[in-house]
Symmetry: none
Subunit: 423 residues, 2 copies
Amino acid sequence: MTAAVLCIGTELTRGELVNTNAPWLATRLTELGFEVVAIDTVDDDRDRIVDALERLSKRARVVLCTGGLGPTTDDITTECVAKVMGAQLVRHEPSLEAIRRRFEKLGREMSPSNAKQADFPEGADVLPNSAGTAPGFAVFLGEARAFFTPGVPRELERLWDEQIAPRLRPIARSTSFQIRLRTFGMPESMVGEKLAGLEAAHAGLTLGYRATYPEIEVKVLVRDETQELARQRAHAIADDVRTRLGSIVYGDGEDTFPEVVGRCMRARGYRLALAESCTGGLVGSLLTSCPASEFFVADAVTYANSAKSTLLGVDEDVLRAHGAVSSDVAQAMAEGVKRACSVDIALAITGIAGPTGGTPEKPVGLVYWAVAHPKGTVVRSRVLSGDRSQIQRMAAFVGMAFLREVCLDDERQSAVLRAAAPA
Amino acid sequence: MTAAVLCIGTELTRGELVNTNAPWLATRLTELGFEVVAIDTVDDDRDRIVDALERLSKRARVVLCTGGLGPTTDDITTECVAKVMGAQLVRHEPSLEAIRRRFEKLGREMSPSNAKQADFPEGADVLPNSAGTAPGFAVFLGEARAFFTPGVPRELERLWDEQIAPRLRPIARSTSFQIRLRTFGMPESMVGEKLAGLEAAHAGLTLGYRATYPEIEVKVLVRDETQELARQRAHAIADDVRTRLGSIVYGDGEDTFPEVVGRCMRARGYRLALAESCTGGLVGSLLTSCPASEFFVADAVTYANSAKSTLLGVDEDVLRAHGAVSSDVAQAMAEGVKRACSVDIALAITGIAGPTGGTPEKPVGLVYWAVAHPKGTVVRSRVLSGDRSQIQRMAAFVGMAFLREVCLDDERQSAVLRAAAPA
């Protein structure tokens, strides 16, 4: 069952407004089981609106159209619909009365221009708007069921909940099911290769990928004869995806990486402290974007060398001998903040985020991470690529992944610690 | 001169992603003088992509198309373009080489699936992508000039700046000019009221507002007989806007608030330290998103009370008597970090970001800010509204605004300090 969304308004085509109605409606339609095949936006132009309505009503069984129902001269959606239908505009007295009462209640007089908001194409199904002045309406455009709502998000959402969704539910028989898996730690192309052949092996399976730097979301969508069958198969395939991708799959649905890392800390009863340099507080900021007082003690963002010494007790000789971006200093930072804050586990990050400050030996993107832990301290390094913000973001995520790994996997942790410097 | 935008991706038609590329491109095209007549979105479906390309290339002189240039099987934009053109796909060796080098630099092997990112329709103008793997390209579809870019915002924006805008500028004969003013510190409705009547007073003026929490951008767009005339008038009107809005206008164009605050510090030769609690490192992270080593010394994110004492020397009796969210503790944090890091100026933030932890006396959203300064310490408080992330973001911005105010305005600063507690 196909659906299309049409958003009308010059403020959208000029880019003055981010269109949040479209994804909101697309999500609702997808949830109901519709396949959204187009989301189009046109300006307040008669010919282009008429053209889009004619086109979309031929392509989709349901068309949802927002905007252009206001009282001003550039609000022309209703007359365009009438033109497409070859119908007259007819005044709907109950709506006019409701608009008049609405203005009375606000202690204002209804302006004459508002009267046109009670005009509808003959035969329209008028949809009362409990959140604003302009009612919505529904008509048939050829074979397609078309719904029209104001562009104000609150009004649109109310009309959807109260009027449109109840009319669509009976005709939307969903036979698909989707599971979203969140991953960090592998580039998109490698994720794709690990899952190569999966689509060919399962009829009705569509794999989707979404990159939100530095993460990749994998979407497992299965279509089958019934939604229940699709659901069962989607879960089985998702398990296969998890096996193929291993520990880089950190959660699903609405999980976020910082939340999952926080959950690891809570599960272990660990209290955490951070010492950040090149990431400037980003890890702390990410970990405290959700409530974190159970495990998060402090983050010493020691940007200047002097602060590394005064706040963390990093030896000035070590700083001089190895430089702030070094394995020794990363280790000293992690151990320093662990000691200063009396915590179970500490992560330190020091590196060169750029764009300047790199040398042939220590290029921009070089980052050291250290995790200090009751059993010892582990240090790692890598040269990250990208611009300053990408290096910072990747450095923060790698640091959190390091913490998660140490927490999650005792066996791997022991292996890692065998190679580590003693605390 | 007409333009159309086409965004390709099932993540968009399913509503999983808010499409910020479309308004970004629409704004840029409008600035160049194009009339954007359509912004369409289709899913990763061969027929629908081909159909949209054929249709839009007939309706607009320029088509800008984003998405579907990745390495995975659902990335099919390029082959669809070739189909519309009736052209073969040809491997572009310099691009393949560039992709291979990019992977080498990352210390990784290029996966075979990435090779298809170097395939282009025969005759395409390849657009090197300095921000990512997949190059963009430009072709003629009938009369229309069509540009293709990855959907990753950063890559799209870079390709626009470096490759697409220079190609479009000569063919767009603009008679308009736009100035963007960045503001923080006043709600959108109040900004609108301060500028009421301006549009009526100036022919060809359109004011636009864009809210990016917690900032408001004001766009001054002037159309006139020539672009030079429009430019002159836009500058005059922008000056009027600056006067009406006062110090909440902090910059224009691509300025960001943290950058502007950093510039204030540099201008004064101030070295800065922070002590954050409820904002968890957000201020530090924002201020270090640009190079900051000239002024930024440290950020002590003392989330737990114990850390406020150990790292900042906040008196445990003060913590017990007044609670961590109090004027006294804010002041002690600011003075503590100023002393510990031997800096000129320090900002402390402590508050209740929620969703839990509020009481009738100290509700969720209550925040204290303190700035410690050679002449004394100033403390302020406010109850912020919104969810956790909004409270944290607003608290961080108010803190930075407080720093900017102290730095910028000696006279106002003296007035503020007259009312302040002595250091």
